[in-house]
């Protein structure tokens, strides 16, 4: 394994994080917030450590899928630990496990919090919390690819390990240009949301933080009650942007280059919108009597559905109190998740569509056992290799899911709490049901459970395998052996 290039990437990731951390520092400096100096101290420390790591570009810059996965997963862990330090050192979050939980939840765009209330927090810390969503949404390595010139061709492996979805395509031949286009779209949409929110009477900093949370499909709110006390206008703006950030970014690229026909033909997006419409219909029918007017019921239904399917996790109402059928629909939406190639989490619409189409194909084979047919997406046959990968992904997802539920349930909370806590973290949503519902938080779990949930969040964000490979002994044995071998020679 090419360990030198991985170290080099760590160095750059630290540098980028150090730069990002200057933003909350500046905000704290202007507002004279409590403890803002810690951002500068941690940023300086990260920059210092990065110097020897990325001092010289390694001569061998080739790396394969393995290196891509390892570099990505380890970078995310490093990023989270460094990102948690200001919270911990300043005492804003006194326990390290809690600070790490909050940061992992931020970078993975989960939005599950251990804080009972956030309004008393210094604004610069609140800002950093929301900013981690924005960084994690598109991915820090994609950012790295966009800004740092990396020669060689295998960097698609980095992007593949970090980007959500079963298949990572490029818009344009070069990874670097693709990464730039992605970030330009991302920045543009975020900016539009900020402007629209400011029209609704939100102040600039609040709208930026809210937009960060929406753009990364994160879900850290800036008020204790998330979105319940905001005006319907703001709730609608946020709801629509949540759906938009859950769309496959291909559509924006195609719109940008005026390929309208192709843009509206993306099959995954049809299903995504269909699922949203269906879920809204069912929930609206069941909750319309709980609210004063049908329009209020509609607002909350749309907000909640888009919040859950895009894996954001903002809440405008406590859905814990809604009828059970609504909760079941929301739980299903948690599994479904957003589109591939978006900033959202979950299993992803494409995967589910392929899985369901495979069932149809299997049934056809029961009628005509010799029948040859292929699953198709966007009118093109899906390669067997892709179908296989999706099946394995689904099974792995389920295995990790139930093992996590088992580990969490050692604490003996009720089933709905345990089940939905894992569901909400692994799909990067945020709030679950019962004790971890929209008005509660995750602080009551013990440290062990919190680490399990952190693992789930990272596994979910990195699409399982890049994280799992870190735990495969073969990775280390091979590297160790080749090192020993080199030394022996």
């Amino acid at each position: 394994m090419n360990t030198k290039i991985i170290r080099y990437i760590w160095g750059y990731v630290l540098r980028i994080e150090a730069v990002f951390m200057l933003l909350p520092f500046i905000i704290g400096l202007i507002r004279h917030d409590e403890g803002f100096m810690w951002f500068l101290i941690v940023s300086a420390g990260a920059a210092l450590i990065s110097i020897p790591l990325a001092f010289r570009k390694p001569t061998d810059t080739v790396f394969y899928l393995k290196e891509g996965c390892v570099a990505t997963a380890s970078s995310w862990i490093i990023m989270s630990i460094v990102g948690a330090l200001p919270f911990y050192l300043s005492g804003v979050i006194p326990s390290f496990a809690d600070a790490l939980f909050e940061t992992v939840s931020g970078f993975t765009t989960t939005g599950a919090s251990i804080l009972p209330e956030v309004e008393s927090m210094p604004i610069c810390y609140l800002f950093w919390r929301s900013f981690t969503h924005w960084i994690g949404g598109m991915g820090v390595l994609v950012f790295l690819l966009a800004v740092v010139p990396m020669s060689g061709g295998s960097h698609i492996n980095l992007m593949r390990a970090e980007s959500p979805g079963p298949s990572v395509g490029k818009f344009v031949p070069k990874v670097r240009h693709t990464a730039r286009i992605l970030y330009i779209i991302y920045l543009f949409l975020t900016a539009v949301e900020v402007i629209l929110l400011m029209f609704g009477g939100m102040d600039a900093l609040d709208s930026i933080m809210t937009s960060f949370g929406t753009a990364g499909t994160g879900g850290f709110g800036i008020r204790n009650d998330s979105f319940m006390s905001f005006s319907p206008y703001i709730q609608w703006v946020v709801a629509i942007f949540m759906i938009m950030f859950g769309l496959n970014f291909n559509i924006y690229y195609l719109l940008l280059f005026r390929q309208f026909k192709k843009a509206f033909m993306i099959e995954e997006i049809h299903y995504y919108l269909l699922i949203i419409a269906g879920a809204i219909a069912i929930i609206f029918f069941n909750v319309k009597d709980l609210f004063a007017t049908p329009s209020e019921a509609m607002t909350h239904t749309v907000f909640q559905v888009s919040s859950i399917i895009s894996s954001t996790g903002y809440s405008s109402a406590d859905f814990n109190l809604w009828p059970d059928v609504c909760k079941v629909v929301l739980v299903i939406l948690m599994f479904v998740g957003a589109c591939a190639g978006s900033t959202g989490g979950g299993i992803k619409v494409t995967r589910l569509v392929v899985l369901i189409k495979t069932i149809g194909k299997e049934l056809k084979n029961y009628i005509h056992p010799k029948r040859v047919s292929k699953v198709k997406m966007d009118g093109k046959p899906v390669e067997h290799e892709v179908v296989r990968a999706i099946n394995v992904y689904f099974i792995t997802f389920m295995v990790i899911f139930f093992v996590s539920v088992l580990l969490i349930s050692i604490e003996n909370y009720d089933f709905a709490t345990n089940f939905s806590a894992v569901l909400a973290t692994m799909n990067n949503i945020g709030p679950g049901l019962n004790l971890v519902g929209p008005t509660s938080n995750f602080s009551f779990f013990n440290d062990f459970s919190k680490y399990v949930l952190m693992f789930d969040m990272l596994a979910g964000r990195l699409e399982l395998f890049p994280l799992l490979i870190l735990f495969h002994p073969g990775l280390y044995i091979d590297t160790f052996k080749s090192k020993m071998h080199r030394r022996a020679r």
């Binding site: 394969y64 031949p173 070069k174």
Partner: protein, 456 residues
């Protein structure tokens, strides 16, 4: 968002040549899209290089649209089929404004390649088999050389030789050579123990070195005979295998008055060859049967070229021939990598058709990128580590009109010859480059696109 440096290149066909082109062009920083019907091939290349892959038929409008042919600068069609390559180019010409390059191998079309190119508006038609045959033939005219590349329409050549034991060059410095033997030649590159040097005057040659020198046609031969090499062209050649390459090679050799014998196992092919090449002797039999080769008189030929189409067989035949005779053998390697292994086998001259194709295309692509002047020819020497590039110089005031010794050239770069009014000359420090000259550069720097790049 748009890159200002790279060209947009679409490569259709991900076979040997397609892969070589993808590797070399992506190293030069172009935006490359590859198209092939085989998803696995596309995937493999897309994993290795920073390129976009499209799965589909390259001649279909849909695939070309996906690949953005309408905005591409160059389209290169190198699928296995000539007809498909031509069709790809025709469709691309209708669809966009790119320069189209097709690989065409069948003799039926290659005779008409100029007509096809002009009528279809193509930028380049490449026939690797024909080019490989020409390169083989050039070596057979000068069999002591390992490799002969021609520049300036055959005016000048770059000749590669290995210094044998007990040669007068052993232990001689380059400046001594210039003063005492000849100053009509210029040693451009030396390979010793797998290291490449662009030598200066104090460099001392040793036996076993592989040297590459530039010379005009006549002075090259004179130099070789002065240092004790034979310079006669071969009298007869045995070609083992009767495929397309053999046909092209036989044609080239017969035109030069070299006797050709072809061994081919397929009866029908033999009959066809005997009508196409009436002057050649066609033997019907198995080319890898030792007894048959003995009967054909392999020991008596002064040159042998195995062209069976299977690399391993070719290498085997070369090793066998080296055992039974002193004939000059040229090995053609189509597919397999392991260049270091092949180099260590001491096969003598080895020809790689896939590089011949990609060299011509890369020369074209670089010339298209250059703002001034033009690249006429480009060769990759010593396993891609040295480039020899011939520029035609137009409107380059930075390099023209000054004595060469006053130009601040890059390190590891030599001006090997200047061709003025069609007369090639090995330059000295007093010579100068003028507008309209052709200049050949030998360098270890990669990716030079125009003549100004030679300056520091």
């Amino acid at each position: 968002m748009k890159s200002s440096t790279g060209l947009k290149v679409v490569i259709i066909g991900c076979g040997k040549v397609g892969a070589t082109l993808t590797e070399q062009l992506s190293e030069e920083g172009h935006d490359i899209t590859i198209i092939d019907t085989d998803p696995q091939k596309v995937q493999e290349l897309a994993n290795l290089y920073d390129v976009m892959g499209i799965i589909g038929n390259g001649a279909s409008l849909e695939s070309q649209n996906d690949a953005g042919v309408d905005k591409a600068d160059v389209l290169i069609a190198v699928t296995g089929s000539d007809e498909l390559n031509l069709l790809c180019c025709i469709i691309a010409k209708q669809f966009g404004k790119c320069a189209a390059i097709a690989r065409v191998r069948t003799p039926d079309y290659s005779k008409e390649s100029n007509y096809l190119r002009e009528r279809l508006g193509l930028a380049l038609i490449i026939n690797p088999d024909l080019e490989a045959a020409r390169e083989t033939a050039r070596i057979l005219y000068l069999p002591t050389a390992l490799e002969v590349n021609s520049f300036a329409h055959g005016q000048a050549e770059l000749i590669k030789i290995k210094i044998p034991d007990d040669n007068i060059l052993d232990g001689m410095t380059i400046s001594h050579l210039g003063m005492n033997i000849t100053n009509d030649i210029l040693i451009c590159a030396v390979e010793r123990d797998n290291e490449i040097t662009i030598p200066s005057g104090s460099f001392e040659l040793h036996k076993g070195d592989i040297i590459s020198f530039a010379a005009t046609r006549k002075s090259g031969k004179q130099f070789l005979s002065k240092i004790g090499f034979a310079t006669r062209q071969v009298k007869n050649t045995l070609i083992i295998g009767g495929g397309r390459s053999a046909y092209y090679l036989a044609g080239e050799l017969l035109r030069r008055g070299i006797e050709v014998t072809i061994v081919e196992s397929d009866r029908a092919r033999c009959e066809l060859l005997s009508t196409l090449l009436p002057k050649a002797v066609i033997l019907n039999g198995d080319g890898i049967n030792q007894d048959f080769l003995k009967e054909a008189g392999i020991e008596d030929f002064d040159s042998v070229v195995p062209l069976t189409g299977i690399d391993e067989e070719n290498i085997m035949l070369t090793l066998y021939t080296k055992q039974v005779s002193n004939a000059k053998v040229i090995t053609k390697v189509n597919r397999i990598g392991f260049t270091e292994v092949i180099n260590n086998l001491n096969l003598g001259s080895v020809i790689y058709p896939k590089y011949i194709t990609s060299e011509a295309i890369i020369a074209y692509v670089r010339a298209k990128k250059a703002s001034i002047g033009n690249i006429e020819t480009l060769y990759h020497l010593f396993d891609n580590r040295v480039e020899a590039i011939e520029f035609s110089v137009t409107d380059a005031p930075n390099v023209t009109g000054k004595a060469l010794k006053d130009l601040k050239l890059k390190d590891n770069l030599l001006i090997a010859f200047i061709s003025h009014n069609g007369v090639a000359k090995i330059p000295s420090g007093q010579d100068m480059i003028e507008d309209g000259d052709n200049v050949m550069i030998v360098t270890t720097h990669k990716g030079l696109t125009d003549i100004n790049d030679i300056l520091r």
